[in-house]
Amino acid sequence: MTPEGDKVLVIDGHIHLWDARPENRRNRYGLTFIESFWGSHVGMTPQDQRWDFDRFCWYGIEGAAKDLFEDGYVDYGIMLPTNLHDFYVNGFNTIDQCAAFKGAYPDKVILNGRFDPRDGQRGLDRLEAEHAQWKFKGVKLYTAEWNGVSKGYTLRDDFVAPYVEKCRELGIKNIHIHKGPTIHPLNKDAFDVHDVDYVATAFPDLNFVIDHCGMPRIDDFCWIAGQEPNVYGGLALIPSFIHARPKYFAQMMADLLFFLGPDRLIFGSDYGITSPKWIVEKLMAFQFTDELAQEAGTQLTMEVKRKILGLNAARLYDIEVDPVFQIPVPPKEDEGELTHPVVPGGIDVAA
């Protein structure tokens, strides 16, 4: 609810429920990994909103519910599982861990699946079995993850297509791909985003949400996404700049809006890196300078914010949207009354 009384739908498109407690750390990598996340938390979160390190390592189901649904304005949260069994005994943020959150808050949590295309038939079977249980609408891929001797893969690798085909068959239409800061980047350029182009062209009927917008290759991402209508920018990490580095937040948003437009950006807080609370508050209050609005092709209007914060994700995930959250349509001159038409599941009422 804004000070003006507008109700805004908030879908956090990027949340986790992780366990980095000492007893779950398999080795020192488990510690250094969560420490890197901690650097992000401390670097970007306003001082009075920071958590202590132990709380950061483990906040549990009720902690997450409070941070997201009670304090954080979140109506729905999309969970993106990450295994990391090499670092954590029971995994870091596995489907099972996320499923417990889904079990406790079934109406608010959207549980995505995950797979590693290097797992062959075994992985395909598991995806099918997990889908039978959870009816995924999206999956998360982590191209830089280690798997045995492999230190990562690209979406061009020939073992990827069978998995994407399986997603089509199962009706999983949202493929989230982590293209952001990576764990063990070694080869040529582990951040490379050009493989997204390839897979998006090959599967035009699926949506590819590129998490973290390819950062640190956001420039390449903007260029590629601009040409592929089924590529979306998963914003997680970008809005976190809004407190510590608002100028760079604004620049990145302007580029994203120019190249992708307001209909293909999905808000994400990257929870538990930080809380959506302060990000949503600052985002709702944020405006471009006139110069930047011109660069972006649009001001950060209420309409744009509604789309980014919730309506775009609602469209991808078939979430029914209450009319109060929709973008109000100004009355046509020849109509005497104010109307708020709602397209089922859609948002293009302003078109």
Partner: protein, 256 residues
């Protein structure tokens, strides 16, 4: 939050070393390793220089870390009084491999045999080209504000050189761009256009807006990345340091 500790520079030799390090760039960010706060300490013993450097996270890219270490070693060993420069990356998953490899002048793909299959010349070229575009964006925008678009685009390489060696406000931007333009962007005769595409074509007035948008995207990304690195580095080394994995345990080289 306590400030980030920087190396103590209390001798002329150390100052000379730091001046060399000022010239070493993080290839991805196109900013110097000193301005990024990566240099933790500099020690000089006789003709041997020891430089400890740190990065924003334990998991930062090994390839960029390796390139910076190689460049630091080469830059310092150019000083005629230096017999050996020892470069020590600290608190990093690949520290031991990188430090040993750089010390014996090994190639990246030798050091990471079985993990990395490519040498780093390609990535170096890629980011050198991004740096060219980023530097051009900075200068072109500033110059267009001063002279108008047509005036700015009329600048020749000779004119760029004058700006770079002149006393105007644009001098630092011009010098940065000149050093990139002399390597990339086509012919370098004095009458060649200063502002060119990577392919070496002059930037045309009617393409200005589009061109500037394309290259500002590259520059904006590098700047945002650098800010992210600064935030993480400060959180890691000047902040609360839950720091259980690195400094406080005194296990710097355990995994390195």
């Amino acid at each position: 939050m306590s400030p980030l500790e920087l190396p103590v520079i209390d001798t002329a030799e150390k100052a000379e070393v730091m001046a060399r390090l000022d010239e070493v760039l993080d290839p991805e960010l196109d900013q110097s390793v000193t301005s990024m706060g990566f240099i933790e300490s500099v020690t000089v013993e006789g003709r041997v220089v020891d430089v400890a450097f740190r990065l924003p996270t334990f998991w930062c890219s090994a390839n960029f870390a390796f390139l910076m270490a190689v460049d630091m070693k080469a830059a310092i060993e150019q000083l005629d009084w230096v017999a050996e420069a020892r470069i020590r990356l600290v608190d990093h998953f690949a520290a031991r491999k990188i430090n040993e490899g750089v010390a014996r002048n090994a190639r990246f793909d030798e050091v990471f045999a079985g993990e990395a299959t490519t040498d780093l010349s390609e990535i170096r070229r890629l980011f050198r080209e991004k740096a060219f575009l980023g530097r051009q964006a900075g200068l072109l925008r500033a110059l267009a504000a001063e002279r108008g678009v047509e005036g700015a685009l009329a600048l020749t390489l000779g004119g760029l050189r004058e700006l770079a060696h002149g006393s105007g406000e644009l001098r630092p931007l011009a010098m940065r761009y000149l050093t990139a333009r002399l390597v990339d962007g086509g012919p370098v005769t004095p009458d060649a256009p200063a502002f060119t595409t990577l392919a070496g074509d002059a930037v045309l007035v009617e393409r200005y807006t589009q061109h500037l948008r394309e290259i500002r995207r590259v520059r904006g990304a590098a700047e945002a990345n650098a800010e992210m690195c600064r935030m993480y580095l400060e959180a890691r080394y000047a902040g609360a340091r839950p720091g259980t994995g690195t400094i406080l345990e005194g296990k710097r080289d355990a995994h390195g």
